[in-house]
Amino acid sequence: MNERPFIQINDLHHNYLRDTPLEVTALQGVNMEIYRGESVGIIGRTGAGKSTVVQHFNGLIRPRKPGQVIVDGEDLSDPKVDVRRIRQKVGLVFQYPEQQLFERLVGDDIAFGPKKLGMEPAERRERVKWAMEMVGLDFEEFKDRFTFSLSGGEMRKAALAGVLALQPEMLILDESTSGVDPRSRRELLERLLTLHKEHGLTLAFVSPNMEDMAGLVERIYVMDDGHVVMNGTTREIFSQPDELHEHGLGVPQVTEVAHTLIARGIAVEQIPVTVEEGVKETWKILNS
């Protein structure tokens, strides 16, 4: 790639509860690059530092020396950087929608971002409509509903719409599928895939769950204990189940089947990461 990365992280360190007796080190020299249009996964067990890293992407946490965070060419160590502009470009969706929603009515909440951008009411309305469409919430039906009366799944969509309404260039999802039932999770992942493929949205997806990653991301950073411990394409990472296990992670069952076969001396051409691929590979093996 010739172009510069959309997000560049160099030697990032971070401590929580700094200068108190309870100080805790969250990041110990992290390096990462995310290019425009990519879909990247950041996985690791709880406490690995994943959320801490992504909160640097939109300036919620500012880098401390010697760490460097450069977003679309802007160096976040510079206090003069307009953080609001960064946050429009890089949208962050948190784990639980209740943490993000606050307006009384759904429509107002989704309109919050565009309002802050200074959009006129008519434009705002269009934007909210668009955002709601993107997540599958019917505009007329939901715009005047009470935010906190929505079901869990609906709230999740509203929260996502609220961030999409800023029309960011990059979307970060911080464990947004934790605790979500399989049907809703699948739906969410499909939507994200659409946004990525059809709208060119750069994606960073944080999760401890491997199966979410498989169909969605091209590249994975594995974190543990404040470091990046593994880094490669999805397939490369999933080809190392033992190392992943050491870091408290697993691989999708389909991948595990492949590894078991390899361990028993059967050649597998390409490690499958989804069931689709698993079926194809197995068929090849059974018929070769």
Binding site: L17, R18, P21, E98, Q99, Q100, F102, F112
Partner: protein, 285 residues
């Protein structure tokens, strides 16, 4: 630089392990010291009394080994409020507050504004009392685990359960409140970050945020409240499922015992407090 970490600034309720004399005291003793000296503070309005009290509480904190920096860092969020209060007192209370040990002397008068030596005394004494209470609170909560505090409280209230005081229930309420404060603080932090991510003006450049609009505060309080209520609902179910029916008939894992040091500390603090109360009108200023 913006800083969302509230937990850094909440020093109340944070137990800091240590081995000082204070750490080793029975929680009931510490609660009693807290109570006795707080009463003394409440009734002490003179400069002298408060200087004594500041020195006494200060030495106790020093004895406990908790760092001064840590104790004062807990005050930072409250400073805007304190300053506003101080200014109001200074400007408007002169006419109503008779200074202790002195004749009223007006320094400045215009309309409602009444700056007298009385209002000056009020401001200074208020500040001192605030510091004393801060020290006392730190003394109690930084050297005693939360469970010990509540066990101590329950133990002390138990004799009163005969006349209907719900000793265990109250101490459980206290435990739960103390247990969930850090969790709610974390939650607030996340809420602020989530809103900031959508363009909200959460943090200003300065460390002291004097003015935040009601709207902004409401935007934070509503989700926080809902989170707190949800947790409460869940907790109630869990407690019911674990057969909680109130304090009657409960046994206890933890047992408290006094050591000689406790008796000494108890008696000393009682004597000190009683003396401060008895002598409060005899101090010069």
């Amino acid at each position: 630089m913006e800083d969302f970490e509230f937990l850094r600034h909440i020093t109340i309720g944070q137990f800091l392990p240590g081995d000082s004399i204070i750490h080793r005291l029975d929680p009931r003793t510490k609660l009693s010291i807290f109570l006795f000296i707080t009463i003394a503070v409440t009734f002490s309005v003179s400069y002298t009394a408060n200087v004594i009290l500041v020195l006494v509480t200060l030495s106790l904190v020093l004895l406990s080994g908790v760092s001064m920096r840590y104790v004062f860092s807990g005050v930072k969020p409250a400073i805007p409020l304190i300053i506003v209060l101080a200014i109001l007192q200074l400007l408007f209370y002169g006419g109503q507050f008779v200074p202790f040990g002195m004749q009223t002397k007006t320094y400045f008068h215009w309309g409602w504004i009444h700056i007298t030596n009385g209002s000056v005394q009020l401001v200074i004494v208020s500040a001192l009392r605030f510091i004393e209470l801060l020290f006392l609170t730190s003394l109690l909560t930084n050297t005693t685990t939360l469970t010990d505090i509540t066990h101590g409280m329950e133990n002390m209230l138990r004799p009163f359960s005969r006349i209907g005081v719900p000793a265990h229930e109250l101490s459980l309420v206290a435990t739960i409140a103390l247990r969930f404060v850090p969790l709610l603080a974390e939650q607030l932090e996340i809420i602020m970050k989530a809103q900031a991510s959508r363009g909200a003006d959460i943090a200003h450049q300065g460390k002291f945020q004097f003015v935040t609009t009601t709207r902004q505060v409401a935007a934070l309080i509503v989700p926080l409240f809902i989170d707190a209520l949800r947790r409460a609902e869940d907790l109630i179910l869990a407690m019911q499922a674990r057969c909680y029916v109130g304090g009657r008939g409960r046994s206890s894992l933890v047992r408290l015992e006094f050591a000689p040091l406790d008796y000494v500390a108890y008696v000393l603090s009682l004597i000190f407090s009683v003396s401060m109360l008895a002598l409060r009108n005899y101090f010069p200023i």
